[in-house]
Amino acid sequence: MHGRLKIKTTAEQAAEKQKEREEKRKLYLGGLTKAFDKRSTGTYDEEGLKVTAQLLMANPDAATLWNFRREIILAMKSDDHESWDKLLQGELSVVENCLMKNHKSYGAWHHRCWVMENFPNPPWDKELALCDKYLKADERNFHCWDYRRFVVARSSKQPEDELKTSQQLIERNLSNYSAWHYRSKLLPLVYPPLPDTPHPVPENTLIKELQTVVEAVFTDPSDQSPWFFLRWLVNRQEKNPRLLQTGFISSGTKDSLLVCVFSKPLMQQNIPQISVDDEDVGNNEWHAPDNETYSYVWVVQLKELSEGEHSIAISFNSSTKKSLTVSPGKTSVAWMTELEEELTGLTRSTLEEVKQNCITLDELDPGNKWVLLTIVDVMWALDSYSHQAKISSYLSQLQDLDPLRTKYYADMKSKLSMETALKKHRLTTENDDQFKLNERRLTRIAYSHLLACSKSVDLSCNELSSIQPLKSLVACACS
């Protein structure tokens, strides 16, 4: 149903075509009736294989015919190694004939998997050669890629070998997105990431990959595929939720809320152990705004506190503990960790290099959106706060350059604006519960969870179309 060009024909040609198709239809229907008859009478023979092979050549997606073939094959299975092997070999040829007709047939590729799993000694090497052949004909054929993964998982091929294969395919054609994708899957297998780092691979691998891909984009900056890969390497991947903020929102001894804000939504049962004056807050005492099961924000109403200082302690695990001192009637908000995970000095200097390279590339070849997007990402990853003006101006350039996605860039500007406002708010007026976000041309409220502890948020004079995220403003609601 894809890519069938409609051709204008004369009445005569149309009649000719009609006749030809009518014959094909009769032939197909005749074969189908024969196959179904045999099946309904439990006749599993050579002729059944022959008929279904012909039908599948015409229509390799007719799944029931493949099912019938498998039933015949299983019925014919003998203990004799050689004849069983020969039968299965025959199936491989049938599949290949069908793939020649349609190399994207789900049914044909699946049948090949089934056959291979039935071989006493599967000829995996030959299958890898077949994959090479089909990927040469169409390097993006995801059926063949999936089959390759199936073969590799069962053969003696190691991820290291496949990483080399991905390298070769990339070298052959830089815009082979499938090969870059394969690389992104293999790298963490060959070079497992370290726990507690925001990167997908260890630092030295990350740096090496960054340098290689920058070289690739310099070769031809108009190829999209390497840029996707580069964006992945540049951006942090947060693995586990981190506690970002703890807020003690209190208007007196009888009215105090404890608010926890996390970097990712989590369930009630995964909230770290928190105690007030050495008394544990029970997990089930926490509730989320809107009663969501997964939430960035969790709140607990504290029971009456006496006047004076109280201590709140948070244990992330047996070794990491944090505590803060609060007093009823006095709201205090504490950041427990940075908004994003720290980069090491080495990664930082490599990203600086990538940034410089992309700025050079932008000077050499102005107006390449991928270059600008990468500069935005790298600056954002390095320090969004100090780069705010620059990132924002690159995003404006992107809006002009890529008008189809102008609203995406507008939303990213809003995210940046919010992120820098949060950082500024934190630097200057940490305990001020007034948060001004007015007149920022915001199109969305990103990081709305980080407004949870603010008693008053001024969002006037923006370009917002939805205030749904404001449901997390629990402190506003209580005062």
Binding site: G3, D146, R149, Y177, H181, S466
Partner: protein, 333 residues
């Protein structure tokens, strides 16, 4: 930069307005040409073909032009007495793909009482594997499309309790890639159709928070090409069925505004065939029911007022889901 070798050109020759009546006539006419070569060669997915046609006709407010007695009679004959699943056509084998299509039609026609619902539930639940994935049938092909078919079917039957949804979600998450998208199986490349299935499954099960909306939303809006059409993977040609997979996914992520709706509309309208009615994959190709539904469904998502509103997860008219009180999760931005 700027050149898109893999795109199409839309000219003044291509339709610019919705050929509403022509499409309805094309769909009604299609089911009457049972002796056609094409009808014969599509028998192996007839049940889905019927779902495409019926849903499209319903969007066009002309569902009453279908012979529902004949349809229901056919569907009943396709329920496999042994397994409980549905086959695409009489004589063919049951499969999750056609079980979903059959259930969708039955829900639209309010006729679930005509079939053995408990047997369907048992069939679907029986296809869940240890790792949470689903096989399409007893022959073991695993695909995230089948996970979606299973969860979608059971949600419509209100029997999600019959499977391990937590494991189903875990499996889908194993199919996520570094670009934020999803593929067929763990390790497979991201593909817009597969993304629709996986995000749809997460929406039905209330697990959308597991997706990085900005990352995946960006990948999805990058599918739009200068012609306005959307492709399914980077550096591929645009195709009208992707207007559905991508637009529906973006809707679930609360980011439909990230693509240019006006240009998208122009592209979809250009894939209409003014002679025969119906939509094609790309301007100038042959029409089929599949692209006709997804063309109309895409226009409906973009707010085309002459069409009934469509639900982005189930790809069924919204009023049908309201009627059975099935809701979906939409990410807030």
């Amino acid at each position: 930069m700027g050149s898109h070798p893999k795109d199409v050109v839309i000219t003044d020759e291509h339709p610019k307005t919705l050929l509403y009546q022509k499409h309805a006539d094309y769909i009604v006419g299609y089911s009457k040409k049972k002796d056609d070569y094409e009808f014969t060669m599509t028998e192996h997915f007839r049940m889905s073909g019927m779902y495409w046609g019926i849903t499209a006709l319903d969007l066009l407010n002309q569902l009453d032009r279908m012979d529902s007695t004949e349809i229901l009679d056919f569907i009943c004959k396709c329920q496999d007495k042994g397994s409980g699943g549905f086959s695409p056509s009489i004589g063919h084998d049951a499969h999750l793909l056609y079980t979903l299509s059959a259930v969708q039609i039955l829900v639209i026609l309010e006729a679930l009482d005509k079939v053995d619902v408990e047997a369907i539930v048992k069939y679907v639940a029986g296809l869940q594997n240890e790792d949470g994935s689903f096989s399409g049938d007893q022959w073991g092909e695993v695909d995230t499309r089948f996970s979606f078919c299973a969860v979608n079917t059971l949600a419509l039957l209100k029997r999600l309790d019959a499977i391990n949804t937590e494991k189903a979600v875990e499996f889908v998450m194993r199919c996520q890639n570094v670009d934020g998208g999803f593929g067929t199986r763990p390790g497979s490349e991201s593909h817009a159709g597969q993304i629709y299935c996986c995000v749809g499954l997460l929406s039905i099960t209330g697990q959308l928070h597991r997706v990085n909306g900005d990352l995946l939303g960006w990948w999805l809006c990058e599918r739009q090409l200068p012609s306005g059409g959307l492709n399914g993977r980077p550096e591929k040609l645009p195709d009208v069925c992707y207007s559905w997979w991508v637009l529906a996914s973006l809707t679930m992520l609360g980011r439909l505004h990230w693509i240019n709706a006006d240009k998208m509309r122009v592209f979809i309208l250009a894939t209409q065939d003014a002679e025969t009615g119906g939509f094609t994959d790309r301007p100038g190709d042959m029409v089929d029911l599949y692209h006709t539904l997804f063309g109309l469904a895409g226009l409906s998502l973009l707010g085309e007022s002459s069409l009934k509103p469509i639900n982005p997860v189930f790809c069924m008219p919204q009023y049908v889901l309201d009627r059975i009180s099935v809701t979906v999760q939409i990410m807030s931005t």
